[in-house]
């Protein structure tokens, strides 16, 4: 049994069963669609966190919670819960537990803006090309009535998330661990540290769900390995990752996973070039129906 203090550095990980059976797949959501929606939801959370001026550790924790939520047969289904609601509630909940709480109104204002088809800066939401004239405020401002009903959904979704996790909200992040490891390795070049953080934040979007399948120390080591190569900084000889309790196999897998994120994102952008990624239950249903019709038409 590992010492108690390590709990701060480690996470609950998804079981093989949770990874192979999602609630959405039971509800006939194609797995590629599920992956696209989950990844877009993570980006939505990241963007909202930035607009809410939340620090990156809160945003990252929210994305990990968001990711966990959809896993396993006991998790949430995309045909029952809207991605945008789960994203907002995860962010609101994480901020509430942090030193930087935020209000339901701020969260909902930001999500209304980000989900506006006319004004959103997000590539997977805005369908229309940037108009000559700026979009009218009605298209991205939350009305008072809209706020009241959205608030109820936000708070209800918060409780749903808590129940799905048995109220365990603990998320350990690799970012600070990575900085400590860099110091231990004697790496002082700021560009390496910056690149490490970039890899760790990009991995939040990874289709391999690296944050719910690997412990933070392993993510940190893989990011350092990649960053030092890219920045051409020579690390110590020998299998230094073992000092940080990561074996070669795990490191290899994570490095491949992290490197693949960029290609995956490019593919996503081109795949969804002409239509928005579904962010609510109705849109998911419509997309599944559309695919069914296409198949039948062939």
């Amino acid at each position: 049994m590992a010492p108690n203090g390590l709990k701060h550095l480690s996470n609950a990980l998804a079981t093989p069963d949770q990874l192979s059976n999602s609630s959405s797949s039971i509800d006939n959501v194609p797995s590629d669609l599920e992956t696209s929606i989950r990844c877009a939801g993570a980006q939505l959370t990241q963007a909202a966190g930035i607009l809410l001026h939340l620090s990156q550790d809160i945003i990252a924790q929210a994305i990990v919670m968001f990711t966990r939520f959809w896993l396993g047969a006991d998790g949430g289904s995309l045909r029952i819960y809207s991605v945008k609601d789960v994203s907002a509630a995860a962010l609101y909940l994480t901020a509430k537990l942090s030193f930087q709480p935020t209000s339901p109104r701020s969260v909902l204002n930001v999500y209304t803006f980000l989900l506006s088809q006319d004004a959103s800066p997000l590539w997977f939401v805005r369908q229309r090309r940037a108009p000559e004239t700026p979009p009218s405020p009605e298209t991205y401002i939350l009305s008072e009535g809209g706020y009241q009903s959205a608030r109820l959904i936000l708070l209800r979704t918060e409780t749903v998330i808590l129940r799905t996790f048995g109220f365990d909200t603990h998320v350990a992040l690799p970012h600070t661990i990575a900085l400590t490891y860099l110091q231990t390795l004697g790496v002082t070049k700021p560009a390496v540290a910056q690149r490490v953080i970039q890899h760790l934040n990009a991995a939040l979007l990874s289709p391999q769900l690296l944050y719910v399948t690997h412990q933070p120390n392993a993510l940190a080591v893989a990011a350092i390995y990649l960053a030092s190569r890219e920045e051409e900084v020579k690390l110590v000889d020998g299998e230094w990752w073992e000092v940080f309790d990561v074996d070669r196999e795990e490191l290899g897998f994570l490095v491949v996973g992290m490197k693949s994120t960029e290609g995956f994102m490019r593919a996503e952008v081109s795949r969804w070039k002409n239509k928005a990624i579904p962010m609510v239950v109705d849109e998911v249903d419509a997309e599944i129906e559309r695919r069914r019709m296409m198949e039948e038409g062939e």
Partner: protein
């Protein structure tokens, strides 16, 4: 060099000196021989090891830069690891899953109603184990699930220690806001015990109790958790002499430097003076003050400082400790509520020692070491209070009578076991979301001395703002 017993004869002295030199030489030769032998052995061992492992690999050398080398201990550790085929540390891996339903438990009887919920005794239907079931109060908060409840669960899940109550799981009811904490069941709380006892605890028993509270608290503080509501009714005891800190409804993580926090924490009677004076930056010292109050309560069975309101509480504190001055508590003047505080012009003479010793007359049965610990815990200046760690090392716990072994601790008939616990008279911790009152302490000192009425703190009259 020469002692009174040495022979003064220079010849004998010379012989003795010669013998000494010879002895020294022999010693050195022996040490040298030992060293050579060791080196040979080590070489042989190395040779054997490398024969087994093949030639030493490059990985043995960890760094090209001699300055950046890890320290010897690290190298030794790593070498050991390599010889053992790299045993890597495996982190504890948890899982997550949905809440179970409360119907998995059979409710037996009500125990008490606390500030954050109702507690009942229940039986786990599948295992037959007796547990305590605490229903969280979720009063339609406009901000969703109350952050206090979330923090209680979060801190309890991480604070696994033999002196902290064990949270087994969180279960839910039929309605969206029915949430129950399932915890280990304990027969007593310390407040009820003290109320029922005919005689106060023996000194050895007080030490056993106190060591466990402080031990649990030391762990919490080391995990960056402040409890913020320590009091005797939140300390649970079982019939095996084990004490558990409970009710984490006020607990939260803190940081360094401390974040801005609400001063509306801790039940009034156990609340530290800096909180009463409105400090919004405070630390673990507030828990140590509460420990001091609990210590006093263990001695006499009565709560030590039973103020009727904030102003009365402050005057009761100053009546015990003497008013603060810039020597015993530098900087207290800058606290928000201290501006209205008018202290007697004849400031108390700076007694010896900082923090000053409390009046012996208040604790007649306490040893000097005990009084020094109490005076430290109840120091007005937070910086003068001992940390939980320092407290555990205090000489009070080392002198006789020694702490009573837990197995020898007396058992008591259970109040919680069969019937409802008696309603306590302890006031409750402040509710979250209340506005911090702007207190007027203008009258804490001065004014006409009066009888023991509501507005009068011991010896000082008050004007309520």
């Amino acid at each position: 060099m020469s002692s009174r017993w040495a022979n003064d004869d220079p010849e004998t002295e010379a012989i003795i000196a010669q013998q000494k030199r010879e002895k020294e030489l022999k010693k050195r030769a022996k040490a040298e021989k030992q060293r050579l032998e060791d080196a040979n052995k080590a070489q042989a061992r190395d040779a054997k090891a490398s024969a087994e492992l093949g030639p030493p690999t490059k990985r043995r050398r960890l760094s090209n830069d001699p300055d950046a080398r890890p320290d010897d201990a690290e190298v030794v550790r790593i070498e050991k690891e390599q010889q053992k085929q790299s045993t890597l540390l495996r982190f504890p891996v948890g899982e997550w899953g949905p809440c179970r339903h409360v119907d998995n438990f059979e409710r037996l009887n009500h125990i008490e109603e606390g500030s954050y919920g109702w507690v009942s005794r229940a039986r786990d239907i599948s295992t037959g184990e007796i547990v305590a079931l605490k229903k969280l109060k979720l009063d339609n908060s406009p901000d969703g699930f109350p952050v206090t409840g979330l923090r209680e669960i979060q801190t309890l899940l991480e604070a696994r220690h033999q002196n902290v109550v064990y949270l087994r799981e969180v279960v839910m009811g039929n309605k969206m806001d029915d949430v129950f904490l399932v915890m280990d069941f304990h027969e007593h709380d310390l407040k009820a015990l003290l109320d029922e006892m005919r005689e106060p605890f023996l000194p050895s028993e007080i030490k056993t109790v106190l060591l466990q509270v402080v031990g649990g608290l030391e762990f919490l503080h080391s995990q960056w958790i402040m409890h913020r509501d320590l009091k005797t009714s939140n300390l649970l005891m079982n019939n095996r002499g084990e004490l558990k800190i409970a009710d984490f409804g006020m607990a939260r993580y803190f940081g360094d430097p401390p974040p801005k926090l609400t001063q509306l924490v801790v039940t009034l009677w156990y609340r530290a003076p800096e909180l009463l004076l409105g400090a919004d930056k405070y630390g673990t010292e507030i828990d140590m003050w509460s420990i001091g109050c609990i210590f006093g309560e263990l001695l006499t069975k009565e709560p030590l400082l039973q103020g009727k309101n904030e102003v009365d509480q402050v005057s009761k504190i100053f009546a015990l400790t003497g008013p603060p001055n810039s020597e015993t508590w530098p900087g207290f003047r800058s606290l928000p509520n201290a501006k209205s505080l008018r202290l007697p012009s004849t400031s108390a003479p700076s007694s010896a020692g900082n923090p000053p010793l409390l009046p012996r007359s208040r604790f007649p049965y306490l040893t000097n070491a005990g009084l020094s610990l109490m005076s430290g815990l109840l120091a007005l200046n937070p910086a003068s209070r001992p940390t939980a760690r320092q407290c555990l090392d205090h000489k009070y716990f080392k002198e006789d009578p020694r702490p009573k072994p837990r197995e020898m601790f007396p058992t008591f008939p259970s109040k919680a076991g069969m019937e409802k616990r008696r309603r306590h008279h302890t006031p409750e911790a402040p509710k979250r979301g209340q506005e911090a009152p702007e207190l007027d302490f203008a009258g804490v000192f001065g004014g006409a001395p009066g009888g023991d009425t509501g507005e009068v703190g011991a010896g000082f009259s008050l004007r309520l703002g």
